[in-house]
């Protein structure tokens, strides 16, 4: 047993909340995939499902976004945050029943939100389509899961902490604050007029920079050095990169309001802070660059996600500029950017970390190497095709919108082929997610079939199967 490089009783003792969060998360990924495909079809074939009030385009798109962000990214991100914090604390997770209970209620809340949007209770804000009545449940269930992670953070055996712990702890701590502030200012005591979109924009940006991005980066910061077996290069800058994201990130949301009926300093502030945020992105790239040279499924996903993260930050900085926004604002470019961040960056970073984590949580290698490969290929091809087709649709739409002589019907007609390609990409991504779910489910169920406790195998042996 001298080959055992990692200490696993910690994982074995804290596997149930993690497995529950992960299986729910991947389940939501498939649901979000079906809804995104529906919404995408409705863009080029407006009549699709138009007879059914539950599935107007606005509702389908909001449901897809909610299932993706709160169902998939929320669950998977929470699971990996608990996992890394628990492992780095050096002892089994505490307050596991809080995490389990929180996970159950979080998923009930997401389910309630998706059904609520279908019957017309969406709030109409981007990334905050959640009907107002689920906010309280989301707040408490998230906080309940976070208790377990924050106990692991504060009770860690080594006093020194690592970058992955900062990112995970920050995400666990900050999200309930952001949600509750947005809830109070938009629903309990709503602010007037255009202040509502300003608050909603602040929420959406904070949800990305203070919640989703830290969840994904925390997982990547943990997995990359484990797999490459090397200390992160330029690690001494990691703290600077972290604080740069936390302090500057929330200020970048104003770029979406450029030219709108809001004070002009809000988009101007976004230009400056988007440029500053590139500093954070550069440090992340510097720290995690080992992912590009490593091998194995986990690192392939993570390097793709890292590239998408960097590209997304560059696109944010560029589109915050007045001259560029003239061409990109209100077009499919925004959608492409959103997909790049949420699917291209956050999701692939989390998926990579799940490929690394699951064999260690269950003590079983991935059930099917073929499904792993299929998932990797389908995800990469799907995301690239989705981005290219949305950019193509953007080119048509942007040119048409700027030229007042082009009627809307022409823009719709000319962007249709590109939107068809986008639907095809959504279908590819959906197949990938189904492969992922099937593989995950069979692997996770294996531990139910054996009565003896899981025996840890050397990671090398497991990854040869997975890779």
């Amino acid at each position: 047993m001298s080959t055992r490089p990692e200490y696993t009783p910690i994982d074995a003792a804290s596997r149930w909340p993690l497995l529950l969060l992960l299986v729910k998360g991947i389940g939501w990924l498939v649901v979000a995939g079906i809804l995104s495909l529906t919404a995408s079809i409705q863009l080029h074939t407006p009549g699709f499902l138009s007879g059914c009030p539950l599935f107007t385009y606005g509702r389908t798109a909001a449901m897809a976004e909610t299932a993706f962000v709160y169902g998939w990214l929320g669950n998977a991100g929470l699971a990996l945050a608990l996992w890394t914090l628990g492992r780095l604390a050096g002892e089994p997770l505490r307050a596991q029943s809080w995490a389990l209970g929180g996970a159950v209620f979080w998923n009930l809340a997401v389910f309630g939100a998706v059904v609520g949007i279908a019957v017309g209770d969406a709030t109409g804000f981007e990334l905050l389509g959640l009907p107002r009545y689920v906010h309280l449940l989301m707040f408490f269930s998230y906080a309940s899961v976070a208790v377990s992670g924050l106990l692991a953070w504060s009770g860690r055996l080594r006093q020194v902490s690592y970058a992955s712990q900062w990112y995970a702890a920050a995400a666990l701590f900050l999200f309930p604050w952001i949600l509750s502030i947005a809830h109070v200012m938009l629903f309990t005591a709503p602010v007037r007029g255009v202040l509502q979109p300003i608050v909603a924009g602040w929420y959406a940006q904070s949800a990305w920079t203070l919640w989703l991005a830290p969840l994904a980066l925390g997982a990547a910061y943990y997995v990359v050095p484990r797999v490459t077996g090397r200390v992160l290069p330029s690690y001494e800058f990691a703290a600077l990169g972290f604080w740069c994201l936390i302090f500057v990130g929330g200020l970048t949301g104003g770029r979406h309001l450029l030219g709108g009926p809001v004070p002009a300093w809000i988009p101007s502030l976004a230009v400056v802070s988007c440029a500053l945020l590139l500093f954070h992105t550069f440090i992340v790239l510097l720290n995690l660059r080992g992912a590009f040279t490593g091998s194995g499924t986990a690192l392939k996903f993570i390097s793709f996600g890292l590239a998408a993260y960097v590209l997304g930050a560059l696109a944010d900085a560029l589109t915050s500029l007045h001259g560029v926004a003239l061409h990109t604002q209100f077009t499919y470019f925004d959608e492409a950017q959103k997909q790049l961040a949420l699917y291209g960056a956050a999701s692939t970073l989390l998926i990579g970390a799940i490929y690394f984590a699951l064999p260690r949580i269950t003590g079983k290698a991935w059930f099917s190497a073929g499904l792993v490969r299929a998932h990797l290929v389908l995800t990469v091809v799907g995301i690239l095709l989705l981005l290219v087709s949305l950019l193509g649709a953007h080119a048509v739409q942007s040119q048409g919108l700027l030229d007042a002589a082009v009627p809307f019907a022409d823009i719709v007609r000319d962007s249709r082929p590109w939107l068809l390609a986008a639907s095809f990409a959504q279908m590819i991504l959906l197949f990938g997610s189904i492969a992922f779910l099937a593989n995950f489910y069979t692997t996770a169920c294996e531990i139910l079939l054996v009565s003896e406790p899981a025996v840890f195998q050397a990671p090398a042996a497991q990854e040869t199967h997975a890779a």
């Binding site: 138009s50 107007t56 385009y57 606005g58 969406a122 007029g193 990130g249 809001v262 003239l326």
Partner: protein, 220 residues
């Protein structure tokens, strides 16, 4: 990072900074924005939305219309908003102070609606909008569930509200299509969207003749 207290205080300070900066900052600037009293007209603008329109705004939101339509006209020189007849002037914060749920939107799959009731060269009327909602168009889905297709009783007169439909949409003899209350309030809302009054802060900026458009940014 060894100290838990410093770490969490730092996180909290960062959140407080962006919240105070963006949310409280803009609230201090716009939170007390009052209507503008025009002494010539002896009226204060903007005016309250009629009740039917306020109900319609909720229908607009609940159907998710904001996913494809914006309601913000950008200033002349920034995009083709003015050239498309969407509005003579840019939208300003004062336009929205009486709207319970402003729908600025973020995507222009369809046209902007901020000034639909006064669109140039010709604004649609209720009949046009109801027909569009029922029939749909190239880029817009039909919303038939907002209408009732019902039998005209023997000897009864057809409803005055019945849609005048032709071609394949025409209902069989003895049947009619009438808008539901939701459709009526949605249309009342859409027609109430008019930014005809020009506030002092919204005076259209006309760039000096024969000058590069790059200097437009200085006009805010």
């Amino acid at each position: 990072m060894k100290s838990n207290a410093v770490f969490f205080i730092g996180l909290f300070a960062a959140l407080a900074l962006s919240w105070a900066g963006i949310v409280l900052g803009s609230n201090a600037q716009l939170g007390a924005l009052a209507p503008f009293y025009d002494e010539t007209d002896a009226t204060a603008y903007p005016q309250w939305m009629p009740g039917a329109a306020a109900r319609g705004q909720l229908v607009y939101r609940d159907l998710g219309c904001y996913a494809c339509h914006t309601q913000q006209v950008r200033r002349p020189g920034f995009g083709s908003d003015q050239a498309r007849g969407w509005g003579d002037r840019q939208s300003v914060a004062r336009d929205y102070i009486y709207q319970p749920a402003p729908q600025l939107g973020w995507s222009r799959v369809g046209p902007d609606l901020a000034n639909l009731g006064d669109r140039k060269p010709s604004a649609p009327d209720a009949e046009d909008l109801l027909h569009l909602l029922y029939a749909g168009s190239d880029g817009m889905p039909p919303y038939r569930f907002l209408f009732e297709r019902r039998h005209i009783g023997t000897g009864a007169q057809p409803s005055l509200d019945a849609l005048k439909l032709t071609g394949t949409l025409e209902p069989p003899a003895g049947w009619e299509v009438v808008p539901s209350a939701r459709a009526e309030s949605l249309v009342a809302y859409l027609l109430s969207l008019r930014t005809t009054y020009t506030y002092p802060e919204a005076v259209p900026f006309s760039p000096p003749k024969a000058q590069a458009p790059a200097s437009v940014g200085g006009a805010k």
